[in-house]
């Protein structure tokens, strides 16, 4: 509903003397004994003093200034904004999971280990890999982990390769992760359709190459047709092939990266496996590897010890000597992994296949329909789970940004814009499998209206959105050094 159009910062609300959740004070003399005054700080200056009703209203109103998948179509490319099942949320809030402390003796938390172990087996099967670590907590974290594993394997071989090849169309996390892992990222030119340019690869490929990172389907939403050839080329040189599995939704139940020659893959549970995106996280980025790389997986890993030997099945976290070591405080984002587990138990093999089929069907339906109404679809072939448009056919002055902002005004969350960087004015649209044809048709209609408005009334687009809590935000201004305001400060 309609609210006064700004919601004050919580620091500008409340009044001295108001209290939220009640905590009894302590005896000051005892406190001085417990913790000497010279170690203690003064009052929490700047902290708000609000009652519980104020707190609830504040966050309710903030939420109302947001959109999510729950309330609208959110075709953010490369992000797989699929429906987040509520049973997974219910399970992830069960006290028997949330209250597990990682320092409890292993005998007390066998079921938690079992769930992790079973999830690993399922991911192995889905991706065609030999083992998974569940510890990385995001896709990029998984990339780093995967590259560290490759580095360890190369080190174990006694080699010293320090280049990682990355197509220019790759997601920014790829080169950033390569740097973080101590590699030198080398850009590999792509063909206009985003596929790896084999000649460029040929040229760059030498004994110093540790690995190549490939997103498949690519960030342009197209399958990398030459993937096996690329794998062979790399393997022939003793390099590894890394799969950025952010786009796995196009493949689940249909094809397996492991079968294509990939040696390492990171998956994004918050994309493929329906865990919520939470306004930017938490996620999870399990990493799968082929046999050769298993010893280097991060610690701890969960192993299953069999009945025969131990009288009963036992799940135990183990620490391998060759492991790259720990990459997270504990076992990764357990509650996120728990949701992914529920999802896979719900879907089964057939359900996953339906996911990929419907995701790709929806994307191609949009591709053809949007091309029909005049948007430029640069590649005239089947796309995978997402389709790419550009603003090239738009009247001059109308940009991808205008289209995105106008979509907001029409009640949608826009697609991903200006990514991949290799395509000028890119609009990457990923509908996912959980949207109805009716929704797609309405969206096509909205895009059609926008195309018409672009001609008839371009300012409507430049000014968009109009009916949001705030209108077009001036991010250039916000970034000017003198304007930079990263926190509230007490006056």
């Amino acid at each position: 509903m309609i609210h006064s159009d700004t919601e004050k910062l919580i620091f500008e609300q409340g009044r001295a003397g108001r209290t939220g959740i009640d905590v009894e004070g302590v005896c000051l003399i005892e406190l001085d004994d417990a913790l000497s005054p010279e170690l203690r700080r003064g009052p929490l200056a700047g902290f708000p003093e609000v009652s519980e009703p104020e707190m609830v209203r504040h966050y309710t109103r903030l939420s109302q200034r947001n959109v999510g998948i729950d309330d609208t179509f959110y075709p953010l490319g490369s992000c797989t904004m699929k429906y987040n099942p509520r049973i997974n949320e219910a399970v992830a809030s069960m006290k028997g999971f949330t209250n597990l402390h990682p320092a409890m003796p292993q005998t007390e938390t066998q079921n938690a280990f079992r769930i992790l172990w079973e999830l690993e087996q399922m991911l192995n099967e889905i991706c065609g890999m030999d083992a998974f670590t569940l510890n990385p907590v995001a896709g990029a974290h998984g990339e780093l982990t995967g590259l560290k594993i490759i580095r360890a394997a190369i080190r174990a071989r006694g080699e010293k390769r320090d280049k990682v090849l990355i197509p220019t169309s790759a997601h920014g996390t790829n080169p950033a992760s390569a740097m973080l892992a101590g590699f030198t990222p080398v850009n590999i030119e792509v063909n206009p359709d985003g596929s790896v340019n084999l000649e460029a690869l040929e040229k760059a490929l030498d004994e110093n190459v540790a690995a190549m990172m490939i997103t498949n389907p690519s960030t342009l939403g197209l399958f990398e047709t030459n993937i096996k050839k690329i794998a062979d080329m790399l393997h022939a040189k003793g390099a590894f092939l890394y799969c950025d599995g952010a786009n796995l939704n196009a493949l689940v139940g249909i094809a397996r990266p492991g079968d294509m020659g990939f040696d390492v893959i990171q998956t994004n549970t918050h994309k493929t496996f329906s865990t919520p995106h939470g306004g930017g996280g938490p996620g999870a980025g399990p990493v799968g590897v082929k046999k050769e790389l298993v010893p280097f997986l991060p610690s701890p890993r969960i192993e299953k010890f069999d009945k025969e030997k131990f009288g009963k099945v036992l799940f135990v976290p183990v620490y391998d000597k060759q492991s790259i070591g720990r990459i997270h405080s504990y076992y990764g984002n357990f509650l996120v992994l728990l949701r992914a587990y529920c999802y896979l138990r719900t879907m089964g093999a057939r359900g996953l296949r339906e996911v990929a089929e419907a995701a790709v069907l929806n994307a191609n339906y949009l591709r053809v329909s949007l091309a029909e109404i005049g948007y430029r679809v640069p590649f005239n072939r089947m796309c995978m789970h997402e389709c790419l448009l550009t603003d090239e056919n738009m009247p001059s002055g109308i940009t991808t940004l205008d289209i995105a902002k106008r979509l907001i005004g029409k009640g949608y969350h826009p697609m991903t814009i200006y990514f991949p960087l290799t395509v000028h004015g890119a609009m990457l649209i990923e509908p996912t499998e959980t949207e109805t044809k009716e929704t797609l048709d309405e969206f096509i209609q909205a895009m059609k209206e926008i195309a018409e408005e672009a001609k008839a009334n371009p300012n409507l687009l430049h000014d968009a959105p109009h009916n949001t809590p705030v209108q077009r935000v001036d991010d250039v201004g916000a970034n000017r050094p003198l304007n930079l305001n990263l926190r509230w400060k007490q006056q």
Binding site: G20, Y59, P276, G279, V368, T468
Partner: protein, 450 residues
Amino acid sequence: MRYIPVTSADREEMLKKIGIHFIDQLFDMPTDMLTHLSKPLNLPAPLPEMEVMALMEKFAKEGEIAASKTSFLGGGINRHYLPATISALISRGEFLTAYTPYQPEASQGTLQALYEFQTYIALLSGMDVANASLYDGATATAEAVLMAKRINKKGKTVYVSCALHPHYREVLRTYLQDVDIPIVELAFDAKTGKTILAPTMMNDALALVVGYPNYFGIIEDLKEAREVATKVGALLISVTTEALSLAILKPPGEFGVDIFVGEGQSFGLPPSFGGPLLGLIATKDAYVRNLPGRLIGRGKDKNGKDAFVIVIATREQHIKREKATSNICTNEALCATIAGMYLTAYGKTGLANLAKQNAVKAFRLREKLAKIPGVSIPFSGATFNEFVIRTKKSGAQLLRNLLAGRQIFGGINLSVHYHKNPKDILVSVTEMNTDEDMDKFVHALREILK
């Protein structure tokens, strides 16, 4: 399938529009890769919702039993009460099912919540500016060292307190393994439990990293650490694993810490078997462009109205790629939002009182335990809500005894990471521990050590 609305009629119509006849024609890839027909996945059969629920309830039973026992476990994962308001608010779909707020006009809720979170962390840590979250305290520590390297081009080695959380040191080791930053661990004083700072040995220092409080619950002397760091030209990084301590201890910023990092799990996240957690990082204004991760700023919309928006994204991977300050993309935004809710729910006096209550309760238990024959408090340093006890038994044995007969998780066996101290146990006391819990513990320990 209840999550997939495509009916066979939908499918026909859409295939027709696309101009193909079969679903398989959609998959524009070499047919030998289309393994779904020849080798369908071997996964457990799909279960209806009711059965998934029943299965998971069965699995959760074990944890319920464990969680119902009296616990003094801490060590970086802290047991605190979660106000009922939080789960009601954070489960709202507008928060839960949104993603990175790249489109500010559609994301003011997430953006403002994160801006408020940044403010809270800055206020608590006494630093100028905080980011919108990192993965966890351990990776935040590693990111801080990498950040220090960007700032302090001259320094070489990072000196890390041995009394820093062992897992954090392990993660740091993993992160630094291939990036040419040697790690030297600093021993701790066996009497005080504080890190021994020997500036003469540290003249190649890039940064100095100490816990505050450290893994033994001891409040390190940040004043001294600052002096030493300044002397050797190192940046000072303080690491707080129990964020609630910030509500009672002098803030790191007051000591001139350069980079504050921490684990924010105490602010509204349940133990969750160790994740999701909430990595905190904050620094001085001068270093803001070296920060990893997301930053939300307060700006204006085209009508001059206040609006929140991601700023200095030029540090981030999606713009700067290999030159980014970090590879982080998806972070712990929802956890940061929760932390904001938690801090709001407690507020100025509530949070301070809560921290005080923790300190007093821990103090009381420590005093009582110290009186038990066979128990000593090995470290003299001041503590907040965690402390180490030393007994005449092995830590492992003692904890087994406490659990088996008495259903008590007595703490963490320090010998796992500190082999020289096989009889030390790390005990954590929070508002969740009642007086009866503590009496039970005292009583049990007295009996076992008899």
